[in-house]
């Protein structure tokens, strides 16, 4: 078991290393920007996977954490001076706010089951959207606002995009390994058990509430951090960060990549961001590509019907089957030898 974990860890580290080197081979602005979006949404989708894939909580309002993060950093840097101290303060504010809202959302998961909870989160996210639109003195309403990020020292300032790229990449890698450890901890095992059969978890002597609250807070804080990275990367915050399509993106990325796999959502984020980019480019060929979301709707339906486990999930199933077959063969031959 430990052997396989080490093997996969090495693969992940190797991929991360390749991603570190990537901008030195391809440093076009649009490409770096696209990759930053992949990392940002990769983090966001991972946080969604914690709820959906590991604990079985369906939320339609995950964008509220993303938006809280984006607005926290944006407002802090807009109203205060653009220094590293304030950048840090903005990030802290985002994480704390995300955590507090997630705490209360987590408590509600206890009272409301599945789709009722999904509806409630949708309403909560809409509430934040309305707040962002109406509280014009702070948020500039639906126009949104740009803000400055602190200047980097010396020659780094000339490679600002590269620095943001590395910062997002390192954040994603660290968060990935952190969350993977969480899901493979004894607590992570209880979360999966809750997803599988809540009633049985209780009859084993575990209270459900603390687990739902804990995972809701972790997920909310991570999602909020993704919002921070998103805002930093585009240096603009608008009400779109609270939109339902942000949540739907996370859902789509998680499902296409593989629910309950953590690495799947990152791959899903990569596929969707790149597809978005290239499909939009094809709009000269045919107008349908401008409406790329229509195509994705179809892909989404097909994925749910034929690929319910997502890319990574399906791969894992296949590998597990092969391993199982090998073990069976081994068992059979040893049984034969014994007889």
């Amino acid at each position: 078991m430990i052997k396989t974990i080490q093997k996969s860890t090495w693969i992940y580290i190797a991929v991360a290393f390749m991603l570190v080197l990537l901008p030195f081979f391809k440093d076009e602005r649009w490409f770096l920007f696209l990759m930053i979006q992949v990392f940002t949404f990769g983090i966001f989708a991972m946080s969604y996977d914690l709820l959906l894939g590991y604990t079985g909580i369906v939320s339609f309002g995950h964008a509220m954490f993303f938006g809280l993060g984006a607005y926290s950093i944006g407002i802090t840097l807009n109203f205060l001076e653009s220094t590293f101290m304030n950048l840090f303060l903005g990030i802290l504010l985002a994480l704390v706010l995300g955590g507090i809202v997630a705490f209360f959302a987590g408590i509600l998961t206890l009272r409301l089951k599945s789709h009722y909870y999904a509806m409630l989160t949708l309403a909560l996210a809409s509430l934040f959207l309305v707040l962002a639109e109406k509280w014009r003195s702070v948020t500039r309403g639906s126009d949104g606002f740009t803000f400055r990020i602190p200047e980097l020292p010396g020659p780094l300032q000339d490679h600002r995009n590269l620095v943001v790229y590395m910062f997002c990449l390192v954040s994603m890698v660290l968060i990935f390994f952190g969350l993977r450890r969480l899901t493979e901890s004894p607590l992570g095992k209880i979360l999966v058990a809750i997803r599988e059969n809540e009633g049985r978890v209780e009859s084993l002597g575990f209270r459900i509430m603390p687990y739902k609250v804990i995972i809701s807070v972790v997920s909310g804080v991570v999602a909020s951090f993704a919002g921070v990275l998103y805002a930093i990367s585009i240096r603009f915050v608008g009400t779109n960060v609270f939109g339902i399509d942000v949540t739907l993106d996370a859902l789509l990325m998680t499902i296409i990549g593989g629910v309950g796999t953590l690495v799947g959502p990152i791959i899903g984020a990569g596929i969707i961001e790149f597809a978005h980019h290239y499909l939009s480019d094809l709009s000269d060929v045919h107008w349908i590509f401008e409406r790329w979301i229509i195509l994705f709707g179809i892909v989404y339906i097909l994925a749910v019907i034929f690929f319910p486990a997502g890319i990574v999930g399906t791969l894992w199933h296949k590998l597990a089957k092969r391993k199982h077959k090998k073990q069976e063969m081994k068992q059979k031959t040893s049984d034969k030898l014994a007889s």
């Binding site: 095992k189 059969n197 049985r200």
Partner: protein, 251 residues
């Protein structure tokens, strides 16, 4: 004799239907009690009331002298009441081994450890494998619980119960759905717990030979009411029981 669990006028009604009606029984500590009765007699509902899955409309439950009527399933499990379910109730999409390990984790109170890797707790895995061996399920340790046959799931239920190591075991038809060859192994597991002498077992079972062979005491439920309580001989000689249940069914 000192009782481990006691009920007083335990009653539950669903709408107009009274599923368990004023049942007052006392279960002696460290003995083997069976609950029998025809289908629909309220046996499983009675178990649900003991383990906290259901709350009574009227009446009380005492565990080791403490009134636990208002306590939740979680609290009752932590006090030492463990149960297996009649309708298999496992975690389908995780492995058999992980199912059992979760029960051990609960018993060992490893509830909020989120930093260490689960493989750090090697003892849990080893113990889970041992328990699976006891219930003849070790070969399926790495299979998903969803892929088990019905009989195998029953064994897993028992394995999870054993892993919890409760003072009071509530077994709801542990051998139902098992093939004839599989029953003796499970029977042996149950007999071994009984032999150890430091556990109280309450068993719901339809197989009368098993009930008579194992029980120190038998409780007969009929239409939700307590029909009789006594040792196997007394129950077998009890005319009301014969006409209402045993005689009625065999005819």
């Amino acid at each position: 004799m000192e009782s481990i669990i006691e009920t007083k006028d335990l009653t539950i009604s669903f709408g107009g239907h009274i599923a368990v009606n004023q049942v007052s029984v006392s279960i002696p500590r460290n003995l083997f009690t069976s609950v029998i009765g025809p289908n629909g007699a309220g046996k499983t509902t009675f178990f649900n009331l003991l383990s906290g899955q259901l709350n009574p409309t009227v009446g009380k439950v005492f565990f080791k002298g403490e009134n636990i009527t208002k306590k939740s399933t979680v609290e009752r499990t932590r006090l030492g009441i463990g149960r297996s379910f009649q309708i298999t109730n496992v975690f389908p999409n995780i492995t058999v081994l992980e199912n059992v390990r979760l029960a051990i984790q609960s018993r060992e109170k490893v509830r909020f450890q989120m930093i260490r890797h689960f493989t750090y707790y090697k003892k849990f895995t080893e113990e889970a494998l041992n328990i699976l061996n006891t219930v003849l399920l070790s070969k399926r340790a790495n299979a998903l619980a969803a892929n088990l046959s019905h009989g195998e799931k029953r064994k897993l239920e028992i394995a999870m119960l054993l892993a919890l190591d409760p003072e009071l075991l509530l077994l709801d038809e542990p051998t139902a759905g098992m093939s004839l060859e599989e029953v003796p192994a499970i029977l042996e597991v149950i007999e071994n717990i009984k032999k150890e002498g430091n556990r109280t077992i309450i068993l719901i079972e339809h197989k009368m030979d098993m009930v008579l062979g194992l029980s120190d005491q038998i409780i007969v439920l009929y239409n939700g009411e307590l029909l009789a309580q006594g040792n196997p001989e007394e129950i077998m000689d009890n005319e009301t029981v014969q006409t209402a249940y045993i005689g009625g069914e065999s005819k």
